[in-house]
């Protein structure tokens, strides 16, 4: 199957995207942000819709801009004490989703955009892989600069404050980073399943990891493994690639879940 150029391109993209998702996912799971990243994924639809309204052919730019604004907004309002945090996120998530659907289905032809729902990694071209690579380097640099601070915040944010860490700034930087990764890869992964790919590897890894190093390592490994196996299985079975990757990852989650239970007994 690897005699085809498009399979090779998809493989390169998976080799870049999945480790990124694995590493970012660890922070999302630790900080209980799964619902936040889900809302962010859904907001991509509004980003696409704004792009369609402006008449641009490639909506990536409008998606990234909208995603960053949306992420910062969510991060700001989550501390408001009026209603609970998950309610607020849900309100924003539904609004963004509905707004996107309303605009895109205005003329009764939503089917044109259905590719964005389940992703289309087989159509990625080399220049887009390079764009992903740039994002990846960005993330790695951010990771080395801010990891200790983020870890301190996820353990105890008031303790982190007392150590002179600017909690708000680090959090904002992190959500912008997540927005960037989500929006840059949503065309390949799909709105419906992008959050699963962020959460599942880290959640599975958390089941079996004994320390923070193992947690990161297993998460990246599980993400990579699901990506590669998912691509091969989807090719052999003639099914959509993105959902297959997610299925493999959830299978691993259940396996690790029972391993943990066994160890626990």
């Amino acid at each position: 199957m690897f005699r085809y150029e498009f399979i090779k391109n998809a493989l390169y993209a998976i080799l870049i995207i999945t480790p990124l998702f694995g590493i970012i996912g660890t922070v999302i799971v630790n900080n209980k942000m799964a619902f936040f990243s889900d809302a962010l994924g859904h907001s991509a639809l509004t980003g696409i819709a704004i792009g369609a309204l402006l008449g641009v052919t490639n909506p990536t730019i409008s998606m990234v801009c909208f995603g960053i604004i949306f992420a910062l907004l969510l991060n700001k309002i989550k501390d408001i004490k009026v209603t609970s945090r998950d309610t607020i996120i849900s309100v924003f998530s539904s609004t963004a989703l509905a707004l996107g659907l309303v605009i895109l289905s205005k003329n009764g032809n939503f089917s044109k955009f259905s590719n964005y729902l389940i992703g289309d990694i087989l159509s990625i071209v080399p220049s887009e892989i390079i764009a992903l690579l740039v994002i990846a380097i960005f993330v790695i640099v951010f990771w080395f600069l801010f990891f200790n601070k983020m870890f301190a915040i996820s353990l105890n944010s008031s303790l982190a404050k007392s150590k002179n860490i600017s909690v708000k700034l680090v959090e904002n930087l992190f959500v912008v980073l997540v927005a960037l990764i989500v929006m840059m890869s949503i065309r390949w992964v799909g709105i419906l399943i992008i959050n699963s790919l962020l959460i599942l590897p880290a959640a599975a890894s958390r089941n079996i990891a004994r320390n923070i190093k193992e947690y990161h390592f297993y998460s990246i490994l599980i993400a990579l493994f699901s990506g590669i196996v998912g691509l091969i299985v989807s090719y052999m079975q003639g099914i959509a690639t993105g959902p297959t990757i997610v299925l493999i990852a959830s299978l691993i989650f259940f396996v690790t879940y029972f391993i943990r239970k066994k160890i626990g007994d």
């Binding site: 085809y4 498009f6 044109k112 590719n115 087989l122 071209v125 989807s234």
Partner: protein
Amino acid sequence: MKRVWIICVMAVLTLLLGGCTINQPAEADDHLNIVTSFYPIYIATSNIIDGAENVSLQCLASPDVGCLHDYQLTVKDMITLETADIFVINGGGAESFLDKAVSAYPDLIVINASDEILEEFIHREEEEGLLEEHSHEDEENSHIWVSVSLYIEEVKNISKKLIEYNPENADLYASNTEAYISRLESLGNEMHQGLTSISKRNIVTFHEAFDYFAEEYDLNIVAVVEREPGTSPSASELAEIIDLVRANDVSAIFTEPQYSKSAAITIANETGVPVYELDPVVTGAFEKDAYEKAMRNNLDVLLEALGE
């Protein structure tokens, strides 16, 4: 108390805004309101009724929708149909929402432009042994307007039925139709002459829109990119298409302006076969000569792609 007021004001505003769009002025009884389902049928009908008085023409799907695969009726569409006297459709399954619309408005006169054309076409194919028997039974291909000669038949069908239902304008419709058909016939001749000389005939098209077109001009469609328009091919389908393209010496891959080109570009990158764009005349401006313009443009593209 303040909140109650705000809610009341909002409720009244909603009613007023809603009322504006629904309450269209009552039309005089002798006025005929014709609605067409989508773009090519609109272009055909507008040529037939050109200059008729007391006749208005509307198009249900806006002209940027394209083929009506998976089209969903909006509230506005239902209102348009409510005020319509005659609904002109392509038929043959192109309007998948049709059953819903027809059952909602049982008095609406429906003109099926493909009436008898599809049946005859399939019958002829079967007699010539070109088709597997009954292979089209469950899902027929409705894109007959893309073939110029079958489009002419559709124009004749629509005109015949319009004359039947609106005899006051019979003379006008007949002379308009005659003029339009002679224009279309010269277009058809032009295309036949242009395309007899080409040497390469193996092509890949985007979806099954060009089957009748290819039949008319003796082109050989080796594969289609998307079997289900709007759904990208899976990895194994892509691999299959790529192998077919390589094995059959395909000269061009044709995308359609209404759909994403990404899968076609993937195939092109793999095989080195160039990508061109053919228009199945489902989107564009509401101009009387839109069909001829689009087809002449297609002819130029084909000559560039398949000529020497």
